[in-house]
Symmetry: C2
Subunit: 322 residues, 2 copies
């Protein structure tokens, strides 16, 4: 994103925003990573402001046209509306979206809309926003979708990599280096889980012993990533708190997880609030094997597979298309 | 610790083990760091095995002679007894201890006995133990003292630095790099808190919102240390779970903590299960100011000060004396 003030304003821009895996087994609400390739494209045009109409028009949405297009209820629209208001823009935006992943899959499908639209819109502004500002506007969209202000999808979606992000007491984030060899396997069972519902089933209290176990897992995972200690990653990438409560939302979860681990995964858990699952692998060959075994186990549990992918962890996050 | 097999066995050795700050506000039961200078010296001699007597004799204990000297109940003795048994040694040990800090202070005073005695005893063995083995024996001593198998004191005491350590499902540990400029202020109010009692007051359940806050603090602190991001350390070194429950054990806690923060501390919390408190500072001058203000606040709260120290984080941990 250029920070220079443009002399001749751009009228149209297109941006890609990657799907993301939030929580990552050990970092509920505070961690996520971006995928390569899989995501969403937003094409945004400047439109004149009309007195009676909304300054933001959403649509068409390719891929999943059932998504709400009223701008204030749409994750892309909500942030743009606030942006127009805050920056006192003399123009509005028309947003077209091409989605590769369904909303409600646990792959940050509402964040991709918000982030892709904002990154594209940012290219049309006379004065560019900082990444931090884009994140704040994307969080407005995230709030519309999930009912809570969590940046564990929008953060890595915008900035890439494995990201620690917290939105309280202030929005702050830091990247965590990951071994570059790591491959990600994503399995998306054909189920729909709403983030709000997945949050509601969580017990409001956690046993202290589980907290100790989880903080040890979290620390071991971070230090394993930082020092490239794969054994430490393997023994740490386990969810002692959230997964045991949410696994029941995915029929066959334990079977699929076991299949991934037996096929050589470093770890396997729920992506975001599911139903997507992720597994980490150390090379492409193992990833292929894991993908196959996860698909087989999912089918065997009677749950159809919507799709599965093998990806890397995207270093760059959302970006303008040329 | 030399790993070579000694031809002529040493009969007597002396080792220093540093005091430690466990929990470190964000890592209850899984993290601790070693202090420079403050700690305990153990002098260990080989003694012949006598049929009727215990193979380990503890004493004299200088500094705090009230400590139990029955070897199986003493933190230094318990590990040595197991060592003699496991390794089928043909000799026993006499252990003299010189303690600088009282047991029950929250500075790992039982770990220093166990670790110093084991490091000295290790120098008298025909075949040296690995650090991992020493840690396992030290944990036996820790169990005698606290009733639970936690390595957050013995780990950094033996290995030095800021250490992540977990004892479940297996004993594992990893060092966390800290900015070398960091200075540690220790304030020890004249109170005695037993680890067992400090554990008993903890509620068995933690609100999920606190877990999220604490895991964010933990992650921010680790990443702040790794990337030398002092702002991140400052906003993260806060205990959302344990400190609010244990602060009442230290009359004037909030006042002392506030005094430390106002004097420029990066963070300030309870050391281990208290009553010692620690604060981190970025230079000696600030550390001196913090120390003074903490002492003043402690006195003002009506609690006498047993002692206070300024130290660095010890990189090397326990070591043989020349």
């Amino acid at each position: 994103m250029s920070k220079s003030i443009k002399r001749k304003s751009k009228q149209r821009a297109s941006a890609f925003a990657p799907a993301t895996v939030a929580n990552v087994a050990v970092g509920f609400d505070i961690m996520g990573f971006a995928l390569e390739g899989l995501g969403e494209v937003a094409t945004v045009e400047r439109i004149p402001l009309a007195d009676q109409a909304s300054p933001v028009i959403i649509g068409p949405i390719k891929g999943f046209p059932e998504i709400v297009t009223e701008p204030e209820k749409n994750t892309a629209g909500a942030g743009l509306l606030r942006l127009i208001q805050d920056q006192k823009l003399k123009f509005g935006f028309r947003v077209q979206l091409v989605k590769q992943i369904p909303v409600g899959s646990g792959l940050g499908g509402s964040s991709t809309s918000a982030v892709a639209a904002l990154v594209a819109a940012n290219a049309l502004l006379d004065k560019s926003l900082s990444p931090h500002q884009i994140l704040e506007y994307a969080l407005i969209g995230e709030e519309v979708a999930s009912g809570s202000r969590h940046a564990d999808n929008v953060g890595p979606c915008l900035l890439g990599g494995l990201l620690f992000v917290r939105s309280f007491p202030r929005l702050s984030y830091a990247k965590i280096k990951t071994p570059s060899i790591v491959r990600v396997v994503i399995l998306l069972p054909k189920l729909s889980i709403k983030t709000k519902e997945a949050r509601q089933i969580l017990k409001p209290e956690v046993p202290l012993s589980r907290v100790i176990e989880q903080t040890a897992n979290l620390t071991g995972f971070i230090l394993g990533c930082v020092s490239k200690d794969l054994q430490l990653i393997r023994e740490s990438l386990r969810d002692a708190i959230i997964e045991p409560q949410r696994a029941a939302l995915i029929p066959g979860f334990s079977r699929i997880q076991l299949a991934a681990m037996n096929a050589g995964a470093l770890g396997c858990s729920i992506s975001g609030s599911g139903p997507a699952m992720f597994a980490l692998a150390l090379d492409q060959k193992t990833a292929v094997k894991i993908q196959k075994q996860m698909r087989v186990a999912c089918h065997a549990a009677g749950t159809p597979v919507y799709g599965s992918w093998i990806s890397g962890i995207s270093k760059r996050g959302a970006h303008l298309n040329p």
